[in-house]
Amino acid sequence: MATDSRPDTFDSVDWDRVEADTGGVPVVAVVEALTFLAFGAALAYDYLIVPEGEPTVLDWDVTAVEWLFVAVLLLGLFHVVVPLARSRRMTAYYWRQFRKNRLAVASLGYLGVLLVIGVLGPAIWAAPNETISYAEAYAPPIFIGGDLASLDHALGTDAQGRHLWHLIVYGIRVSFEVGLIAMTLAITIGTIVGAVAAYFGGYVDEVLMRYVDIQQTFPVFILLLLLIYLYGASLFLIILLYGVFGWEGTARLVRSEALQRTEEAYSRAAEAAGASKLWVVRRHIIPNVSSTVITAATLSIPVFILGEAALSFLGFGDPGTFSWGRTINAGRSDIDSAWWISTIPGLFLFLTVLAFNFVGDALRDAIDPRSDSG
């Protein structure tokens, strides 16, 4: 207060005046809203103004999946990176816990590098199809040596002479798109359904949870085959299906956690201090459930990535993308003469899935409140 230079004490606050104060909106929320407004405008520009088939900017024609990927990355920026940067003490505490697991730190580093390559790589390295050169087909990686080995294609080439490194870079993009978008969809739906079920209880809870039971027994793979048969395979469709049919576990987890948290004394303490139900849910229940959600989210990413790779391996993948699964499948017939075509993308897939699992396990150890005794 400007009128009084003395610092406030609890008995100097004039509550009649405070109650009239409505308060402002936090800056971060404003920035986020503006960012998404800009995103919406760009999306509208791409779909309403740019003619079909023309590139959106320069020579980049942004696909639907890429738009979604950008949205997910922005969400991650505002809801993961910004909060971590704002509460440094908390971040430092969790980092100390996380750091205890060396393997997970290495995995996190590996995934970080992969993410950067996946996002920026396609702007640096040409699309694999632009590197087709039958003269250079089956070139082995440089560390094997041989007549065709060259620094130009250090990891070798495939049957059409496409550089394996380029295939891998574009595959990283695909894997991260699948993993992150499907995870975001699944976690969002799951958290909302779980929280709503726990918060409203009664019949709402009963109906939602019985639906979850039904969905869990639903054969998504067969639906996927049907849709691919009807509409043709597209990465967008695959991601959407994985996201929309992959949230049951999260919903159950969130519901049971939320039910527990409402009974905790701190929820009651907030209520006794005058907090509304919504306040308790937002400030106490969701933040305390979030550790479970974050762990579940991290561990669900590799499942989606593996799922997409498996589909592509079986030939149901999007023919317009360079999924690792597709590359592995393509190299299968040459496994005795050119083992690297299948093996190197396979190694990347293996390491990526492993890294996500390590990070997820370490995150659970670091942030799950059940493991830190008060």
């Binding site: 610092p7 606050v13 509550w15 405070v18 509304s276 409140p369």
Partner: protein, 431 residues
């Protein structure tokens, strides 16, 4: 009374329905709080004591409307809070704060201590971060912590420190009334005294009204001006602390007081032992609710046996009447081929024969019936032969001195003209 109390609780009731089946048919009621009345004056510390399960915590949560009371009124500063709408209730909650029993679960593990203490400020609309920070730092120092502790997390504090933080949190919105539900029972004895004296200091410095809920008579004695003793959803005795402790007027209070450990071994008596558990609040005993455990139950006129024998006789009587007596099981336990009256007599510590001839005849006949397997008939016979006003009618609240009330038949000159003398309980006027 001429006092102008801050909080007046009148006939507060909290009944929980017991439901069964799909249609949630109500099959019974748990009378957790059953018509409780007391006042809390401005700047006064009032205690609410009783065994666990007697409904004192439910009384607390329903008087703050954390659970909706099913009956009665609670007046705060002259206004009935049971009529409040949401907005008024929120304003009331700024003026009445609560401290919880378990300091380790009453803080959100994801919030720093500073955020937790500032939470009530935020809830009530103080949006200025720097002002909140100033209030929190000042408060933490007042309760004996340092301002820099605001950035630490709950797991970095001990139980006693957390309870100090809880006091700071309760004070943050400058309330008029603080309800402390077992504030020290989760703490080590050595730390209890610190936290209690902090509460005492805070209370006298800011002239707050306090309601302290505890099962520990020692804690209540240390900080309270007045005490209400609760048993099975009802208040059985209330009065100024010195009077209730110095001259208890209810057998239950006496029993609770004798449970305080005494440091002087010469004064250590056998104390008054209460047998059995608190009865089920969904099916409270008829008459005086304490009569099933009371050591001073009024005997029938002309019964010439010692009080302990009468107590045993009454135990037998109520067990048999409830059908909760199994002579067969007693025989099995004693390796006897068949139940005998002597076994039952032994199990209830009844002398053979009773000094009173008439009573002995009835008892012997009833035991015979029970041993033959007809426990219900034995129960009926005993109830008929040994009537007591304590089981028949509920006692009224009577005033024993200007500010000291108790609810016990021993104060009724018509029922027990001098029975209470042996317990230091005299007859009193009707309130």
């Amino acid at each position: 009374m001429s006092r102008d109390p801050l909080v007046e609780v009148e006939n507060l009731e909290k009944h929980y329905p017991i439901t069964e089946g799909l249609l949630k048919k109500q099959v019974g009621t748990v009378r957790a709080v059953d018509g409780v009345s007391f006042d809390i004056g401005r700047g006064e510390t009032v205690g609410l004591v009783g065994e666990s399960g007697c409904g004192k915590s439910t009384a607390a949560t329903s008087m703050l409307r954390l659970e909706e009371p099913t009956g009665g009124t609670v007046r705060f500063d002259g206004e009935d809070i049971t009529e409040y709408d949401d907005a008024a209730l929120k304003r009331f909650r700024r003026r009445a704060q609560m401290i919880f029993q378990d300091p380790s679960s009453s803080f959100d593990p994801r919030m720093s201590i500073g955020e937790s203490v500032a939470e009530p400020l935020r809830i009530h609309g103080l949006n200025d971060r720097t002002r909140r920070r100033a209030v929190v730092e000042d408060l933490l120092e007042r309760v004996g912590l340092s301002a820099s502790d605001a950035d630490r997390y709950p797991h970095e504090f001990s139980g006693g420190q957390k309870q100090r933080v809880a006091v700071a949190r309760a004070l943050s919105v400058n309330p008029d009334f603080i309800l402390a539900d077992e504030p020290v029972s989760a703490l080590d004895v050595s730390i209890q005294a610190d936290v209690l004296s902090l509460l005492d200091d805070v209370q006298s410095e800011f002239g707050l009204s306090f309601l302290l809920i505890s099962h520990d008579m020692g804690v209540v004695r240390q900080v309270c001006d007045r005490v209400n003793v609760m048993y099975l959803g009802e208040i059985v005795e209330s009065g100024p602390t010195e009077e209730v402790f110095g001259n208890p007027q209810h057998p239950y209070t006496k029993a609770l007081l004798s449970s305080i450990p005494r440091p002087d071994p010469r004064k250590r008596g056998r104390g008054i032992e209460l047998t059995g558990d608190v009865p089920d609040p969904s099916n409270p005993p008829d008459g005086c609710r304490f009569h099933t455990r009371c050591p001073a139950v009024i005997p029938p006129e002309g019964l010439a046996v010692a009080q302990e024998t009468w107590r045993s006789l009454l135990d037998l009587r109520s067990r048999a009447a409830r059908g909760d007596l199994d002579p067969g099981a007693l025989a099995d336990a004693a390796d006897e081929p068949s139940p005998t009256p002597a076994l039952v007599r032994e199990a209830f510590d009844l002398p053979d024969p009773l000094p009173d001839g008439e009573a002995e005849a009835t008892l012997a006949a009833a035991l015979e019936t029970a041993a033959d397997g007809d426990v219900a008939a034995a129960g009926e016979r005993l109830v008929e032969a040994f009537p007591t006003p304590c089981a028949r009618q509920a006692p009224e609240r009577r005033r024993v001195s200007p500010d000291h009330e108790a609810t016990c038949h021993l104060h009724d000159p018509d029922l027990a003209p001098d029975h209470g003398d042996a317990y230091g309980i005299g007859v009193a006027e009707n309130d």
